[in-house]
Amino acid sequence: MIQHIDVHAVLQESVSGVYTDLVTRPTGRVVRECIERAMATAAGDGAVARIDFAGVGCIDYSCADEIVAKLLRSRPGVLVLTGISDGHREAIEPVLAGHRLAVLIERPDGTLEAVGAPHAAAALLEELVARRLAARTPGGTLTLT
């Protein structure tokens, strides 16, 4: 089972019904804690959580660190980010690289990409295939199973 978490909805409910941007540490902390609570209800270590950033405007480096990097460090399951724009990537990639972490991004066509530190990204994709959570398509790309 894949759990779906709508970050925009979490932001609107937990922090502000007005703003759509993920900026500042306090905002990131509140949003991450809401996501963690939602994920705690999902099944076991092997669970896949699809974190959807559609509708989120700007993400700053502080929020990328507070949400994505800290979820990756604390969460034993698999995180897949969707709805990621180029602007979001601009914040997330260097933050994860600095931590030597990587995360999966699901593109609009369903294919997966690992971004962050190169070694961690390669290891993440290998692990995903080994655990049969993703499979290679005939074109060589990866999708969730």
């Binding site: 502000s16 900026v23 500042t24 405007g57 480096y61 502080s62 990328a64 660190d65 602007g87 601009e90």
Partner: protein
């Protein structure tokens, strides 16, 4: 007795040390201060937010006349510019809206609104809490996208990076200053240096400054070298933070990455030192120490119009 602090006629980051020197001299005996801007001909966003920070410091350290820390009921005085165009611009830039709380203002201030649609991309705006940073980021994306893309030739994708840089610069106040501060963003044609359009972000506060903020975690590492310059170097170049959380220090590092990509400049003044990441088109010095003391931190970010930026 009232001590005079002259506001430079051309008030920007280059003349700020002259202003800081006058401020330090006048404020040392705790008398009430008079900031004299009557002859001002021009002020950059950096000058405007810096003047507010001086007003904040004058109230907070007893320079308001009553003496002693914690401020006084008597606000410092400010004589407004006499030149009508200057006065109108300072008003449109949102300066007087903020200054009214800090200063006893002398001179006639016109009743014009802070700019809605103009080169003032973000009028002088107070930053006290995370909620203020949300408002700043939201406003700048709404107002600045078109100018950043069409006039500066930045890729539309760069707008979000600009908002990120602005957010991180403002968060330095919320997280480290121990007091509120101000931010302003403006686009203008910079004839003196580049003969191009630029967008300028200016952020200032009169809080504790970088040295005080980093002292508990960094001073031992630097030993006798520890001071304002070392603190700025630690924060901007080494990306250290007062927090032990390994993810901290991302903000200034992110700003540096963004500016490297768009050939921009950042300069931070705190206490008696100033540090800058200097692009090829500028002749600023990377680190200055022994400057006239000024409280808090003042940040200047400049992003030039894209294309050749000849030094």
């Amino acid at each position: 007795m009232t001590r005079l602090v002259e506001v430079p006629t051309q008030f920007d980051d280059r003349s700020f040390d002259q202003f800081a020197s006058a401020f330090a001299e006048a404020a040392k005996d705790g008398e009430r201060l008079l900031f004299d801007a009557h002859a001002a001909e021009w002020a950059s966003p950096y000058g405007l937010v810096g003047l507010l920070a001086a007003g904040q410091a004058a109230r907070g350290t007893g320079g308001g006349g009553g003496g002693g820390a914690g401020g006084s009921a008597e606000r410092p005085l400010l004589t407004a510019p006499t030149h009508a165009d200057v006065l109108t611009y300072w008003t449109r830039a949102g300066f007087f809206r903020e200054a009214a709380e800090l200063f006893e203002i002398h001179g006639k201030v016109p009743r014009v609104k802070a700019a809605e649609e103009s080169d003032v991309l973000l009028p002088v705006t107070p930053v006290r809490a995370a909620e203020d940073v949300h408002a700043v980021v939201s406003n700048i994306q709404r107002r600045a996208s078109a100018i950043l893309a069409s006039e500066l030739g930045l890729d539309p994708k760069a707008t979000m990076g600009f908002a990120m840089a602005l957010s991180e610069a403002c968060q330095n106040i919320v997280e480290h200053a121990g007091t509120g501060g101000w931010v302003a963003v403006q686009a203008y044609h910079w004839r003196r240096k580049l003969a191009k359009r630029v967008v300028v972000i200016a952020v200032a506060d009169a809080g504790v400054g970088f040295r005080h903020s980093l002292e508990p975690t960094q001073s031992k590492r630097f030993g006798t070298r520890w001071g304002d310059a070392a603190a700025l170097e630690a924060a901007l170049i080494q990306g250290v933070s007062r927090f032990r959380d390994p993810g901290r220090g991302q903000g200034l590092a992110g700003i540096r990455r963004y500016l490297a990509r768009w050939d921009g400049k950042i300069a931070i003044r705190s206490g008696t030192a100033r540090i800058a990441i200097v692009p090829k088109w500028d002749d600023d010095v990377p680190l200055k120490d022994g400057l006239p003391a000024f409280p808090g931190a003042q940040v200047l970010i400049i992003i030039p119009e894209q294309g050749s930026t000849k030094p």
